[in-house]
Amino acid sequence: MNTGQVINLEYELTALNFDVAGEASSKTKRVLQQIGVRTDVIRCIAISAYEAEMNVIIHSLGGIMRVVVFPDRTEITFEDRGPGIADINLAMQEGYSTAPDYVREMGFGAGMGLPNMARCADQFDIQSEVGVGTKVMMMIRH
């Protein structure tokens, strides 16, 4: 990868727009492929980004995904407007989900999203305010 170059990406995420859900993560993956990041690292970034992107589309009123690619790491931040998460510890438990049935029918809402992100990322942070929104930050080393 080119030395010292930093790439900034930003995507608007629309609530409940399942037709394009995953497009932002897909574009991010393509950029990482173009600059030659290792494939297992890209896979990790793509999976955690996609889980987070789906969460914003499923649970929030919309939000922003920001990606900053450094030579040695990728940082991804998701910031949404929406109901927020009342109990983050509960939300982090595998199997806990508040997703409606139509989301489960798409193969999501099994309560694995947040634990998956935390497992993939080298650093993971989540902050939420009920009635305002949620911010998720992930850092993955290359």
Binding site: S26, K29, G107
Partner: protein, 120 residues
Amino acid sequence: MKFIEVQQVLDAEVVSGIECIDREVFAVCGSDLMSDVLAFTKESTLLLTGLTNIQVIRTAEMSDLVGIVFVRGKRPGPELIKLADIKSIPLLVTKHSLYESCGRLYQKGMKSCLKMGDEP
């Protein structure tokens, strides 16, 4: 096992990605839970599923899956096939159930995606 052998074992029809038929399949996962697929599969895993929505292709793309088999004769719609073409993800449709399909591949020596790597 190559993708073309999977097609034969499952009496499956190639719906998309005939050019990818020589790809090597290293492990198999049978699931309708995309979050489980994202969490537990390794790259070059073949996914067997009964789901035919567009998120199946997205999941395959993010997880670097080698291809998808739709079981019980479920046919994906044109939108899904179009996206699979763009992402070069081959698609098969088999009339067999998920259980039967997994059993046939297991009998031929295909292993679970969970046993491949370090940890689930």
